[in-house]
């Protein structure tokens, strides 16, 4: 038998590790009193930490917005709903825990919770289910489920990415733009491609530069955030971009390594920039290298769904939401927005505003002719992509460097 000491060391290690993880994110907010019978309680399941300065925080803030907008609503939530952080649980099981707290409507905030959302919606027809991202309620989509209590919602972030691409192209002097991608799937492909389309358009048509001088390279790290030993280290990837002469990195991941790394290069005297993603306040971390951030604004749509559920008028739908083109950054109306960063020059700001105005006026960059990365035709000359074609984009586009499918 091995020594008792060895066991103590092992147990001590476990305690320390767990304690560290617990304390790192451990917060001490007052308990939400959800047991109030009068109130309409809605539940929110977040894939990341509620304060992750990214995707999940955008949802959390939207929840707070709902509470503020509709008196008499209460939010219960559980964050870090993923199998790594909450081993042994399933999203559906956790959603039931929220129902036990009185929730009548549950928001699943990740594509990864698709199965859980569907399973839960089937098992609990009396509960309204909102699945942010996903296509289970899209009649024309590939995964239509026909559930009377499930709605999908996803803003057209393609526009936000086009604006990000444009801002990058207007600022870049080397013509080398990097895209820090998460894992490869349909959603991430279309967003990377949108950033490319925006960059290409502004490089050629606004800055008037040589199309051949533009490089747009995508590097996938493997997941939405860094998992040491599993994904590539986003810091390393960003560093590699800047090191090779890329002067703008657009982030497609949920964390802000690109920004932090750009700041480091800036402090060492290089002129490099980054564009984060997801969350309105993302630029605040390093505003002097931030060109801007395309962000989600889930609040207005959630207000709508929850109001409908309260009124009993809820009907399933697949909502692919536009920004408020009349007032892009109006938090009460828009589904997504773009906030310019401090590092973005005023001159270029005007040009970007013109570009946004053009988008508002009907400019659609998803117009042919466009080829897929392997050269096969995607859109004929003048052909406008359907939602279906954009949503299920099979490859990156011609002109982009990087993998279209995971290396096997």
């Amino acid at each position: 038998m091995f020594s008792n000491k060895m066991k103590v060391v092992f147990a001590l290690l476990m305690v320390t590790t767990l304690l560290l993880t617990a304390c790192a994110k451990g917060t001490s907010e007052p308990a939400a009193d959800a047991e109030n019978g009068e109130n309409f309680v809605f539940g929110l399941l977040m894939v990341g930490a509620y304060n992750d300065q990214g995707w999940s925080q955008a949802h959390y803030d939207a929840g707070l917005y709902v509470k503020e907008q509709i008196p008499g609503t209460e939010m219960v939530y559980i964050d870090k709903v993923n199998t790594a952080d909450r081993p042994g649980t399933t999203p559906a099981q956790l959603a039931e825990e929220l129902v036990a707290q009185g929730a009548k409507l549950i928001i699943f905030n990740s594509d990864d919770m698709k199965d859980g959302a569907h399973e839960f919606a089937v098992a609990h027809p009396e509960i309204t289910v909102i699945h942010a991202s996903g296509d289970g309620a899209w009649v024309e989509g590939n995964a239509y489920q026909n559930l009377p209590n499930l709605t999908n919602v996803m803003p057209r972030m393609e526009y936000g990415k086009e604006m990000a691409g444009c801002a990058a192209a207007l600022t870049s002097t080397t013509g080398q733009i990097g895209y820090l991608g998460p894992l490869i799937n349909e959603e991430t492909r279309r967003l990377a491609a949108s950033a490319y389309l925006g960059a290409k358009y502004c490089w050629e048509n606004v800055a008037g530069k040589d199309p051949a001088a533009l490089t747009f390279e995508v590097k996938w790290i493997g997941f939405w955030f860094n998992i040491p030993g599993v994904t590539s280290d986003p810091t390393q990837v960003a560093d590699d971009f800047y090191n090779r002469g890329f002067d703008v990195v657009i982030s497609g991941i949920d964390t802000t390594e690109a920004l932090t790394e750009a700041k480091k290069y800036m402090d060492e005297g290089s002129t490099v920039y980054a564009i984060p993603y997801d969350f309105m306040g993302a630029c605040d971390q390093a505003s002097d290298v931030c060109l801007g951030v395309p962000y989600y604004n889930w609040g207005p749509s959630y207000v709508e769904y929850i109001q409908a559920a309260m009124d009993g008028t809820f009907a399933p739908s697949w909502d692919y939401l536009n920004p408020d083109w009349t007032d892009l950054n109006n938090v009460d109306t828009t589904a997504l927005g773009f906030i310019k960063g401090d590092a973005f020059s005023e001159e270029n700001g005007v040009k970007l505003d013109d570009f946004i105005a053009a988008l508002a006026g009907g400019l659609n960059l998803w117009t042919g002719s466009l080829n897929l990365q392997d050269g096969t035709a995607f859109l004929a000359d003048g052909e406008v992509a359907t939602d279906y074609q954009v949503w299920y984009l099979p490859q990156l586009l011609e002109g982009m460097t990087g993998l279209s499918t995971p290396a096997e």
């Binding site: 092992f10 617990a22 825990e97 290396a407």
Partner: protein, 361 residues
């Protein structure tokens, strides 16, 4: 010097572990309360929420048992290697490989005409082979490569994680979308039959009972059991007695791996119905704590595994109700083990004095 009388022996066995357990539980509770208090939460309320979260209604109790079944299987598996003196830290990887092999088999048979029951049974068996295979690698590295099983196991855990991620995002990815949510879920007919309204399958409980009876017989009633005990306590003496130490250590690893693989298979066919990135749910390391706390006693292992399951399930309430990180329930588990070991060490020191004086002529 005459050996101590039997009666004393019995008394010692009965009384001290109980006192020990109570003392260490109390110590762990106080320590955890202190942490909670520092985190700004009310310890009493926290423990109350955990209990309600674990026993609040029948679904919650069933959810606790969903955790308990694989945890017990894995802890039981670990007892075999613990007794043989092997620190099988590669248990996580063995669970994962079990899950991977099971998923592979399910994918293979999914569209065949074989009856669903048979597919599930076959796939679980294949999963056991997978776990045993991974354990065999650790065993070979230890017994023939001279690599300590701790390092070999931890290394293979990483490989197993990478393998499952590669499969999920690569060859087995869902149509068009590699997703952290895992592979495409299996058709419902291939799910382990659940009790209606619950996530629990009666079969996983039956499996636990059968496996534990088997383990009890194997370790207490067979030559194999006594031989691996000898190996664990004194490898050199066992070798000199003519016991085939390598073969038996390998067998212990294989058995442990097969049971871990079975637990992984249960996670696939009974809980997640697909392969997910962290399919082992960290049960391997948790089971290590369980087996250590239970001191390799079968009955105690089942009890402790249940206690830990409760903490796991009840711990979900912490973020929902108190906005505390649910890892705190993990802290409680680990602190419990730590206190137990420290108390055990103290006991041995105290006993040691008596023991030493007995050792005279």
């Amino acid at each position: 010097m005459v050996a101590k009388p039997k009666k004393n022996n019995m008394l010692k066995r009965l009384s001290s572990p109980a006192i020990l357990s109570i003392a260490s539980t109390a110590g762990a509770l106080i320590f955890t309360s202190l942490i909670l208090w520092m985190a700004g939460a009310q310890p009493g309320l926290t423990f109350q929420k955990i209990l309600i979260g674990a026993f609040g209604d029948s679904v919650k109790i069933a959810n606790g048992l969903v955790v308990w079944a694989p945890l017990s299987l894995i802890a039981g598996a670990l007892i075999i290697t613990f007794i043989a003196g092997l620190w099988n830290l590669g248990i996580e990887g063995q669970i994962m490989l079990g899950a991977i092999f099971t998923t592979g088999a399910m994918r293979l048979f999914e569209n065949s005409s074989i009856s669903p029951t048979l597919i599930i049974i076959l796939s679980c068996l294949v999963g056991m082979v997978g776990g045993a295979f991974w354990a065999a690698l650790t065993g070979i590295l230890r017994l023939y490569g001279g690599v300590n099983e701790i390092f070999a196991g931890v290394g293979l855990n990483f490989v197993a994680t990478a393998l499952s991620l590669w499969l999920i995002f690569g060859p087995w990815k869902r149509p068009g979308v590699g997703s952290m949510s895992g592979t495409e879920p299996f058709n419902e007919r291939l799910w382990l039959v659940q009790i209606p309204g619950y996530r629990l399958s009666i079969w996983s409980l039956i499996l636990v009972v059968v496996v534990y009876i088997g383990l009890f017989i194997l370790l207490k009633k067979t030559r194999f059991g006594i031989q691996i005990k000898a190996i664990g306590k004194n490898l050199e003496a066992a070798r000199l007695m003519g016991i085939q130490t390598r073969k038996l250590m390998m067998l212990a690893m294989l058995l442990c791996g097969a049971l871990a693989g079975l637990a992984g298979a249960l996670q696939v066919v009974g809980v997640y119905h697909r392969l997910i990135p962290s399919i082992s749910s960290g049960y391997g390391f948790l089971a290590m704590l369980v087996a250590m706390l239970a001191n390799n006693d079968f009955f105690l292992t089942l009890v402790v595994a249940y206690l830990f399951s409760i903490l796991n399930i009840g711990g979900i309430q912490l973020p929902i109700n108190l906005h505390l990180d649910s890892t705190l329930s993990g802290v409680l588990q680990a602190v419990l083990v730590l206190f137990f070991l420290v108390m055990n060490g103290l006991k041995q020191r105290l006993m040691g004095r008596k023991e030493r004086s007995r050792d005279a002529e």
